[in-house]
């Protein structure tokens, strides 16, 4: 186990129990009535879900950045999360949001976005084409999502869609954990298996192929891995932005720079970030709880700008 993995595991081990106690009601295990009930039925599933979703986003971000050899890559930028959101919105729009259907719709949406991306830009592997194609898919999915909102069958459906899109972990149950956790973990597993191929890609696509990497297999690993890890997260929590972008950046200096060494610590750091952010959302003394997706974008967007400024200075 590498040092960053140990570090983030340790921090998670501290943060998780804290998140079980923190909230609108601070729990004193000895005094609070129904403490066990609150922890077991509300806060533990919510905390675990934050960990699962954050891990999926962190790992996907690390893998995407490795795949595109670009530190600005984020699963959200490339149409996967918007695709998943569109799928979920369609489920809400059609009134099929019960049980397994909403996440299934979201997964189909995520897979569709990735397949489209691979179809358009996967063959040549050119970063510019891949990026542009992904952004087009993201805006197409976004436009279709807006269309679905504007054509919502009734006001209730509309508000349900809008509030779902903002991303939150409020009132999530064990069912959501059982849905998202296996899929996300499978996705992270696929991405970690692709780690060595991503390492080879550090040298460019031709050199990677000369090292025996199969580009088609790697592309599929990226599609399936990111689709599962991000899609299942979006399915149970809506759009949670910027985790996939920020986390690999913060973690990269702690590693030797090889993409394969970045995936596991990014998963853990992503879990930590979402867990802590969700805890802060609960604690903040606002009239209604701050949506997690909004909170992370509030942190993420300025970070992204800072990153661009820094890169501009380095390039200048």
């Amino acid at each position: 186990m590498t040092r960053p993995v140990l570090l983030f595991t340790l921090l998670l081990a501290i943060a998780l129990p804290l998140s079980l106690l923190a909230g609108r009601v601070w729990i004193d295990p000895a005094a609070t009535p129904n403490a066990a009930l609150i922890v077991m039925e509300l806060r533990l599933p919510r905390g675990l879900l934050a960990i699962v979703i954050g891990a999926g986003l962190g790992a996907s971000g690390a893998a995407m950045q490795g795949y595109l050899r670009n530190p600005l890559a984020d699963p959200g930028l490339f149409g996967i999360a918007p695709g998943a959101a569109l799928g979920a919105v369609m489920a809400l729009w059609l009134g099929l949001a019960s049980g397994l259907l909403l996440p299934l719709f979201a997964l189909v949406g995520a897979g569709g976005a990735m397949a489209l991306l691979a179809l358009i830009a996967g063959r040549s592997g050119g970063i510019a084409l891949f990026t542009l194609a992904g952004m087009m898919i993201a805006s197409l999915a976004g436009a279709l999502t807006s269309l679905a909102i504007s054509m919502a069958p009734n006001a209730f459906a509309m508000s349900e869609i809008v509030s779902w899109l903002m991303g939150a972990l409020t009132d999530r149950s064990w069912n959501d954990v059982w849905l998202a956790a296996p899929l996300t973990l499978a996705g992270i597993g696929v991405l970690m298996l692709a780690g060595k191929s991503l390492d080879a890609l550090t040298l460019g696509e031709a050199a990677a192929r000369s090292l025996g990497i199969n580009p088609a297999r790697l592309r599929w690993a990226m599609i399936v891995g990111t689709g599962l890890a991000v899609g299942s997260g979006v399915a149970v929590a809506g759009i949670i932005g910027f985790v996939g972008l920020i986390v690999p950046h913060l973690v990269r200096p702690l590693t030797d720079g090889r993409p394969s060494r970045l995936i596991a610590p990014s998963a853990l750091a992503g879990a930590l970030l979402v867990l802590v952010a969700d805890m802060v959302c609960r604690i903040l003394p606002l009239v209604s709880e701050l949506r997690l997706g909004i909170a992370l974008s509030l942190i993420g967007a300025p970070f992204f700008l800072w990153l661009l400024l820094k890169m501009r200075r380095e390039l200048a």
Binding site: K196, G204, R209, S210, L211, G212
Partner: protein, 245 residues
């Protein structure tokens, strides 16, 4: 033995290589020369098994290269592309360790031997971004050497280097060849090819124009026909200089 037989390669519908037949021998340094667009890099990539043949074949020890599993091919043939891209700021050691990917290990002894052979042992922990162009080129060569290939195919490995680093690089490649490795280089610089290669292929417009020892393949006649330049060689074999009139 690495051979191409009547090899034709098409890129985007255009015929880039037409009917190339050549044999590359272990333990020798072969230079592929030719004007821009002659198909040098394409031939090298085809030798590395990275491009499909439209017709004809590439054979490694008599076996069709396209039929050899990618990992096995990667262990036999090390390929150094022209761009020298390194996407992340790895340490020199981590970069060289990428050469072990076809073996599925990170044999630290092989990596250190490769760093030693390229004079990069003292740079093992240095991030790539802090290296000069010449040091980076040696680190990338160490990556190829670390996999212990039987063939090294390098596309313009000397292009961005100063004279001293060019000669150092050629020394490293020559010592690999003396160890039995077959070295194939795309070279633009005709005097370097003349003085340092055992065998030279001259490509022109996708076809093989000349092949043989450098004194034969790079004769003034050939240079006149292929590069449209009147030139003659000065000095003695091994230290030739090109005089262009």
């Amino acid at each position: 033995m690495l051979e191409v037989q009547d090899l034709c390669v098409e890129l985007g519908g255009a015929s880039v290589l037409r009917g190339i037949t050549a044999t590359f021998r272990p333990g020798t340094v072969t230079a592929i020369c030719g004007p821009n667009g002659a198909g040098k890099s394409t031939l090298l990539a085809a030798l590395a098994g990275l491009l499909p043949a439209a017709s004809g074949k590439v054979l490694l020890d008599g076996e069709a290269l396209s039929a050899i599993p990618a990992r096995q091919r990667a262990r036999a043939i090390g390929y150094l592309p022209q761009a020298g891209e390194v996407a992340w700021n790895l340490s020199v050691e981590a970069l060289a360790t990428l050469g072990r990917l076809p073996h599925g290990d990170s044999d630290i002894q092989a990596v250190h031997a490769a760093l030693e052979a390229t004079g990069m042992a003292g740079f093992a922990q240095r991030p790539i971004a802090t290296l000069s162009g010449g040091e980076k080129a040696r680190a990338l060569l160490a990556r190829v050497l670390a996999s212990g290939p039987r063939w090294i195919l390098a596309d313009e490995p000397l292009a961005a280097l100063d004279l001293g680093h060019q000669l150092a690089m050629l020394r490293h490649l020559r010592s690999a060849a003396q160890g039995g490795v077959g070295v194939v280089l795309v070279l633009h610089d005709l005097p370097l090819a003349m003085n340092h290669a055992d065998h030279v292929l001259v490509l022109d417009g996708g076809a093989l124009h000349a092949s043989g020892p450098p004194e034969v393949a790079l004769s003034p006649d050939t240079i006149g026909q292929v590069w449209k330049t009147r030139a003659r060689w000065l000095g003695e074999p091994g230290t030739r200089a090109l005089s262009i009139s």
